[in-house]
């Protein structure tokens, strides 16, 4: 079989860059891109919703900080293929498998950055807010959260970019977004190079675009950091 495949590669032209492929197969590529974006956004969103209370908990109750950080270190050591393989027996070949895995990875980055952001709020600022009569809820929303925002956003950007790259591995359960394009449409179809190249480029482009969107959002949310520049 391998011999036949090699012969096919040799007999048909198979250039690296093939814009004709992109033009002819755009409606084929788009669903993969759509799935990639969906999986990324859902995972990071769920990750954020879980990471925020965990970070606050770790900040409030110091005893929790070390176990949470230790556990997340252990988690990020586990290779993604193994991670999906651990989850798949229970959730099958579904997007849920990929989302659970990606949420766990994004948690690792988000909790650390959220915690670092909260811990970086100076005690004097808290003291001053308390002196001005701020209660715990108002203190969190009006003082701690804004001051921790730059660290939050950094974490969010790193998590998003990493997640975009990791979605491709979802191909093992048939839910890999652009990974499907690269492996199924490219590699397993007689090593067809065009989908491999465009799948890769679209992945990188998606990561950069989402990163820039978040960077722009961060600038809008924290106008005070720009003062004086």
């Amino acid at each position: 079989m391998r011999v036949a495949a090699v012969l096919a590669v040799d007999s048909a032209p198979n250039p690296w860059i093939n814009f004709g492929y992109l033009a002819d197969n755009w409606d084929r590529i788009l669903p993969y891109l759509g799935q990639h974006i969906r999986l990324t956004l859902i995972s990071v969103l769920i990750g954020t919703v879980i990471a925020l209370p965990l970070a606050v908990l770790a900040r409030r109750i110091r005893l929790f900080a070390a176990p949470i950080l230790g556990l997340s270190t252990l988690l990020y050591t586990i290779p993604s293929l193994a991670m999906f393989a651990f989850i798949a027996p229970y959730t099958g070949l579904s997007p849920t498998t990929v989302i659970i895995g990606l949420v766990l990875y994004s948690l690792v980055i988000l909790v650390r950055n959220f915690l670092a952001g909260l811990q970086a709020v100076p005690d004097e600022v808290r003291e001053a807010a308390r002196g001005m009569g701020y209660g715990p809820a108002r203190m969190f929303l009006k003082v701690e959260l804004p001051l921790a925002l730059p660290a939050f956003m950094t974490g969010l950007r790193v998590a998003t970019v990493s997640t975009v790259a990791l979605v491709t591995v979802g191909v093992i359960v048939g839910q890999g977004g652009l990974g499907q394009l690269i492996i199924v449409e490219g590699f397993r179809r007689n090593y067809f190079k065009a989908p491999i190249v465009f799948g890769t480029l679209l992945c990188i482009l998606l990561a950069l675009v989402l990163d820039q969107v978040l960077a722009f959002t961060e600038r809008r949310l924290t106008p005070w950091t720009r003062r004086g520049t």
Binding site: A66, Y76, T77, L81, V161
Partner: protein, 252 residues
């Protein structure tokens, strides 16, 4: 029989270890690919990082490369190399993995050298050390913890990514996971996942201990923080001062 029991049963059968394309053979190829990649990564990134860090040049490059590499899917680079003429040799995954081993080592070595107290270098020079001696005897030992962090990160990264090579032509431990999915035998899938995860954690622990041994001066007991011995001030300093290269990166 539960999936977990089936996984243990699979792992408990000696034939599954010793047969052709068995666990031992896959493990051998896995370690060969990962080991070569880490070695090549170190050979390229360490001298470059030391030079950049010592001279203080190209910091944006070293750190930027580490950030950009995050956006590139390892699976994509593996696939691209797999469809080149060397695709079916061991060199395709080795080259792909080397590319991903370089950024963490480079960034951490650079930051490690840059963070050496300027006064220490001044003092070393005043004691009559030449440039080579300053690098070897003053900067290198002080940068050691970060350099080892970079090597550890890269090591875990290559062990993890070598798993993915099994989705293409590589005969690494990921092959078990893939064939398990192929035959819908989740026992084999779980057995493969256990082996791969164990190998990655083992790599982390071994390289982490190596870093601990190689770091001169006062030593902290690893994971002591887990038992709450650290006060929160120290912990926060440790988190806040995480060097760029050490931002935890989910390994592929």
């Amino acid at each position: 029989m539960s999936i977990f029991e089936r996984a243990l049963l699979y792992l408990n059968d000696p034939v599954n270890w010793t047969r052709r394309n068995g666990i031992l053979e896959l493990l051998g190829e896995h370690l060969t690919i990962a080991g070569l990649s880490l070695l090549f990564g170190m050979l390229i990134a360490l001298p470059l990082g030391i030079w950049l860090g010592h001279t203080g040049r190209g910091g944006g490059f070293a750190v930027g490369l580490s950030n950009v590499s995050r956006a590139v899917p390892t699976l994509a680079i593996l696939t691209i190399l797999a469809v080149t003429p060397i695709g079916f040799t061991i060199w395709a995954p080795v080259i792909a993995l080397t590319v991903f081993a370089i950024p963490p080592i480079l960034a951490n070595t650079y930051v490690g050298f840059r963070e050496v107290d300027r006064d220490v270098i001044e003092a070393a020079r005043a004691m009559g050390m030449d440039t080579g001696e300053v690098v070897r005897k003053a900067e290198l030992p002080l940068a050691m913890p970060l350099i080892m962090t970079g090597i550890r990160t890269a090591g875990v990264q290559v062990v993890a990514t070598a798993t993915l090579a099994a989705l293409l032509a590589g005969g690494t431990l990921g092959r078990l996971i893939r064939s398990g999915f192929g035959t819908q035998d989740y026992g084999v899938v779980l057995a493969g996942a256990l082996l791969v995860a164990l190998l990655a954690i083992l790599t982390e622990v071994v390289l982490g201990s190596l870093g601990w041994v190689l770091t001169p001066g006062q030593k902290y007991i690893p994971f002591a923080g887990l038992f709450g011995r650290r006060n929160s001030g120290e912990a926060s300093a440790a988190v806040a001062k995480l060097p760029v290269g050490d931002v935890p990166r989910p390994v592929t």
